[in-house]
Subunit: 324 residues, 2 copies
């Protein structure tokens, strides 16, 4: 069995259209192929304000699949450590042998989550969306914005975070990195009122976007809520939406935005139904659309396989050079 460290993994993977394509295929496989995707396992470590989530998915016919551990330990920042950590284990589907441990420290989860945001925007937002609104100022706020620029002609960004200094840091970094014009707003409502598409990236326990603020043509990707106690969108937002898409409906009902909007669950469709062409997401420029992402094992399996193959190829190249 091989062990790959984060520094090696980062050499072979980045947020690009190739990765977005992989995520699209992963969602499609959920509806087109026989897939084993057990419910998320959670190990709580209450006395240290921590939890480890375990996800996995096997897609019939693929020669490997991943089991992913991702941890959130929320006392870490006070210790000078990131809250998130994790690793993926890639397993041979024919024999059960572990092929590799990808000790990515949560990096692959960050990337596959951002890439899913791009897929959501690609099908849910208006094609000519030029103004992005970002709620939150953490690492997903950064990656989700970068992901949007890969699928939509983003020119301008409105951002809000509870800590203004973090929002200002975010503005500076993103302007430099992506060459966009960013504006730090004083309220969530200011962001929502000026944006074509919005991504919510917070660990909020209370909704902070309301139905009254909705305008025709708006798209929201809500990726923050992934646990029973989290929520970003008020039920009135879900009511106003013309189309609601989730990555996995059962998970959204348990851990995502549908949990507080159970009466919308019958009309909600899954992202895989959209990427496979079985259902349409946005059908006109007037519609209000929402995509709720809770994170799925098929995404983990897809990115772990992708990275593993690239790592092997990269080693092959390195070996050839050595031989010369």
């Amino acid at each position: 069995m091989r062990l790959f460290e984060r520094k090696d993994i980062e050499k072979v993977i980045r947020l690009d259209t190739d990765l977005i394509k992989k995520m699209e295929t992963a969602f499609t496989s959920l509806v087109e192929k026989e897939t084993t995707m057990p419910p998320i396992m959670r190990v709580d470590v209450p006395d240290h304000n921590g939890e480890v989530d375990i996800k996995s998915a096997y897609i019939k016919g693929e020669d490997s699949f991943a089991v992913k551990l991702s941890s959130g330990f929320f006392n870490n920042p006070a210790l000078g450590l990131p809250s998130a950590n994790g690793l993926m284990i890639l397993i041979n589907s024919l024999t059960g042998e572990p092929l590799a441990v990808l000790a990515d420290e949560g990096r692959l989860t960050d990337l596959r989550t951002a890439a899913a945001g791009a897929v959501a925007a690609q099908y849910g937002s208006r094609e000519n969306s030029r103004i992005a609104g970002i709620l939150g100022t953490g690492s997903q706020a950064r990656l989700q914005l970068q992901a949007l620029t890969l699928v939509r002609p983003i020119e301008q960004v409105f951002v809000y975070g509870r800590k203004r200094e973090k929002a200002l840091e975010y503005k500076q970094e993103m302007e430099q990195e992506l060459g966009l014009q960013l504006t730090v707003c004083d309220s969530v409502q200011q962001v929502v009122g000026q944006s074509d598409l919005i991504v919510t990236t917070t660990p909020s326990k209370e909704p902070f976007i309301y139905g009254d603020w909705m305008r025709p043509g708006l798209h929201i990707t809500a990726m923050g809520s992934d646990a029973e106690h989290k929520q970003e969108l008020d039920a009135s937002v879900m009511e106003k939406a013309d189309v609601i898409v989730c990555d996995v409906k059962a998970q959204s009902v348990r851990l995502g935005e549908l949990r507080s909007s159970l009466k919308e669950q019958d009309r909600a469709i899954e992202l895989g139904e959209v990427t496979s062409g079985r259902q349409l997401f946005r059908q006109s420029d007037k519609e209000i659309t929402i995509c709720d992402l809770t994170g799925t094992g098929v995404q983990d399996t897809a990115i772990a396989r992708h990275v593993y193959h690239r790592l092997l190829a990269w080693e092959g190249v390195t070996d050839e050079r050595r031989e010369v």
Copy 2:
């Protein structure tokens, strides 16, 4: 994060009274301490006759805990590979950081399962049990017998396996290794009729021990059934038992022998209640006792921590030698 391979792990751990003690403490912690032990997660790989089980447990106050993957891929023997494989990941309880991957290939699961068998025998079987009966001839049949010899004055062994040549191999190996006298029987009933304590170690889907065969004083540890489709003891055996103990009742009801004997579940007690002294297991030489083991995350956490500390200590010793 560290990666330890099986060959290194095997240098620092074996089935001994120290390990049995660790398992006893692990079971006790289930009733005496605050413990997080989520239900087992299973990833099925039906087209290759395989499955991966994921177990974990965090015991409040301990500075690390394990997440264990164990796989059973039942086409492997035809490929010349063992069915079982797996690894453990030890996680820092304070920060969520992965400390080590123990790439034990399932060896630690084998050892902790056998050590639990010793704990079961220690509390359930008569102290002067000299005759062991073993059903099955695989690796647990070997380890469980070895475990029994560490807690009971075993002199003689009766064994039955469906394939007689495997039973003969088993006899030869065990006689050599443990210096005991073994007899290969022609039927399960012959084994049961002559033994003081019995361990069932098979993946059987049908019960093969019946209530009519029970005699006063007999103890049975049933460790084979750990899935919805497995069963070793007929319901009539459970009825005849004076005391029924399980490692975890909820798991035995779902995956173990209580699944087919639901009406016995109210009187069944847990092994941790016994090891902690809160409940008695065997109270007289006349009683018929049963212990059903399905395998628990606290055992995995206990053995992973134990091995990790020994590996670090062993490296320390090696380093000192290097320095000399």
